[in-house]
């Protein structure tokens, strides 16, 4: 089992606030590593450092053994890093199909051409259609993103990330705001994807975390206070106190 993502001693300060406090963790191939923690624990800050939107003050991030700490977002994406956003972040004036095609376009390259016709790049559209086939969004292919429901946008976020054929997925709260049925569908979908693609999953929904994760790390005040298997975390008294608290029904 080799590590696809290695984080070593990551520190991020915002003024006097220590948002990421010496965080080290790994994601191995075949693993779904869940990152949980109360609101304001610094989960999104960590994700944004991993994908390159924020630069850490200290520490190293390695992807596939290569140091990516100083790399830009597009360079990391080119190395196989895929992500979804907590608050959906899509091309709102474009259709579902166009959003997916844009991801395929990013993968295929040749995008400085000014004399071709995008509609005639058949391979782009064929791949986009293939990715859509069999998903709940298939019948919504020609709907603009601004006309989609919240749940549909969440599904599209995931599809767009997958279209880029990532080697590692960073998922920032893929369940947030989904209804019960939608959540169940998303869990099934993520289980399928997890067969082939390792993930770092940031999530509040404990049912989802316990159903999906092969390993869980608990982030509190920017620091990882515990890391281990699902059973280990479930029974860890420190975690219960710091995070799960009195909400026994969650466990």
């Amino acid at each position: 089992m080799s590590a696809i993502l290695e984080i070593d001693g990551l520190v991020k300060r915002f003024g006097g606030l220590l948002a990421t406090d010496n965080v080290s963790l790994t994601v191995n191939t075949g693993e779904i590593h869940a990152l949980i923690g109360p609101n304001g624990a610094g989960k999104s800050t960590l994700i944004n450092q991993l994908c390159g939107e924020l630069t850490p003050d200290e520490g190293r991030i390695r992807l596939n053994g290569r140091d990516v700490t100083g790399m830009t977002v597009p360079d990391r994406v080119a190395m196989g890093l895929g992500r979804t956003f907590q608050i959906t972040n899509l091309l709102d004036d474009s259709t579902v199909r166009e959003n997916i095609a844009m991801a395929v376009l990013a993968l295929e390259g040749h995008n400085f051409r000014i004399w071709d016709n995008i509609l005639r790049r058949r391979s782009i559209w064929n791949q986009a259609d293939a990715l859509l086939t069999g998903t709940p969004l298939e019948s919504r292919a020609h709907v603009q993103v601004s006309g989609l429901s919240h749940g549909e946008r969440k599904q599209l976020e995931l599809l767009v990330a997958l279209a880029r054929k990532p080697r590692l997925l960073l998922l920032d709260e893929p369940m947030a705001g989904l209804g019960h049925v939608e959540s169940q569908e998303m869990i099934t979908r993520l289980q399928e994807i997890g067969q082939t693609t390792p993930m770092l999953l940031v999530e509040h929904d404990m049912d989802a975390v316990f159903a999906l994760a092969t390993r869980i790390s608990v982030l509190v005040y920017g620091r990882i206070i515990a890391s281990g298997t699902v059973d280990h975390i479930r029974t860890n008294p420190e975690v219960r106190e710091a995070y799960l608290g009195a909400e026994d029904e969650l466990c």
């Binding site: 994908c51 994406v77 844009m102 400085f112 000014i114």
Partner: protein, 326 residues
């Protein structure tokens, strides 16, 4: 429907010199010529502003650079002294026009490389600052007329045509204009155009897909600058004059008004916008020296009332008319 409109429009444009001749209104021919030239500049601004989401407030700089390429080459052609000791002057349109495009594109590359590191209000201010720097540079170039600019006694030559004839000049500009808009149409449908439109919608998303926005935006900025340079070179030929006024910030503002008036991000918008602006300018200016006040009011009404400028308004009317028929 759209195709018919384009064909009718082109036929009208081909007949303009005959019609103005018949009507005995030579001033109208020169008005239409200026509309054609400004619509090239406005459309090139619209490409970065409307399609790329970059609000550049210094676009006239590249317009002026294009004009000065024609002017400076003409000066050196007349004196026989090479520019910088090795670049010979020229009065051939087939030389000056491509050169104006290349030089304006190169200037846009320099300005864009620095200013695209910022965004939002800072980007607006920094493009404005660069344009004003170029403006003062040309004001201080006494060799090339300084504030007074360069008078180009004879327009550039092309295939031995009589370029003094206003109608001949009009047709030459019309051909270049049509070529420019065909290229622009292709550009917008291309892979690059698609990426640029994506960056306007959501730059953060595009970066997360693996597109490096800076490189794409810079390329778009260079293309737009080159387009403005083409317009400037045509203007210098048409007016037989080039001056720092072409680079002044108020000219950038005029180009922006044309884009907004016509409809930001619509293909035919800048043509309508340039037409509306120049027609209003020439009629309102004849009516009162305070014409910008009236223009301001009209702009306000168009922006607030149509949501999409004249292009959007016409689109809505067409949709309404076809619905009425069925």
């Amino acid at each position: 429907m759209q195709k018919t409109l384009i064909v009718v429009g082109l036929i009208v444009l081909l007949l303009v010199p005959t019609l103005t001749d018949l009507a005995g209104q030579p001033a109208l021919l020169s008005l239409v010529t200026r509309i054609l030239i400004y619509s090239i500049a406005a459309a090139s601004l619209n490409f970065i502003l409307g399609y790329g989401g970059m609000v550049s407030f210094g676009h006239a700089a590249f317009f002026g650079v294009g004009g000065y390429v024609v002017g400076i080459l003409f000066v050196h052609h007349g004196s026989g002294e090479p520019l910088l000791g090795f670049i010979p002057g020229s009065n051939q349109l087939l030389v000056t026009l491509p050169l104006a495009v290349i030089v304006a594109g190169a200037f846009a590359g320099l300005v864009g490389a620095l200013s695209l590191r910022t965004s939002g209000v800072q980007f607006i201010m920094i493009t404005l600052a660069f344009a004003q720097m170029l403006y003062f540079l040309f004001v201080s170039l006494k060799t090339y007329g300084g504030e007074d600019g360069i008078i180009i006694r004879r327009s550039n030559e092309l295939f031995g045509l009589d370029m003094r004839d206003k109608a001949v000049m009009y047709y030459v500009i019309l051909v270049v204009w049509a070529g420019f808009f065909v290229l622009l149409w292709r550009l917008i449908q291309s892979s690059f155009g698609t990426v640029i439109k994506g960056i306007r919608q959501n730059e953060r998303r595009m970066a997360a897909l693996g597109f490096a926005p800076y490189r794409y935006k810079l390329y778009a900025f260079v293309l737009a600058g080159a387009g403005a340079g083409l317009a400037g070179a045509l203007m210098a030929n048409f007016l037989r004059f080039t001056s720092p006024d072409m680079l002044h910030w108020s000219k950038s503002g005029e180009l922006m008004i044309m884009v907004i008036l016509g409809g930001v991000g619509s293909f035919f918008g800048p043509i309508l916008g340039a037409g509306a602006f120049l027609v209003l300018e020439s009629f309102l200016a004849g009516w009162s020296e305070h014409w910008p006040l009236a223009l301001g009011l009209i702009l306000l009404v168009v922006v607030l009332g149509t949501k999409g400028g004249l292009g959007g308004l016409i689109g809505k009317l067409a949709a309404w008319a076809t619905r009425g028929r069925t």
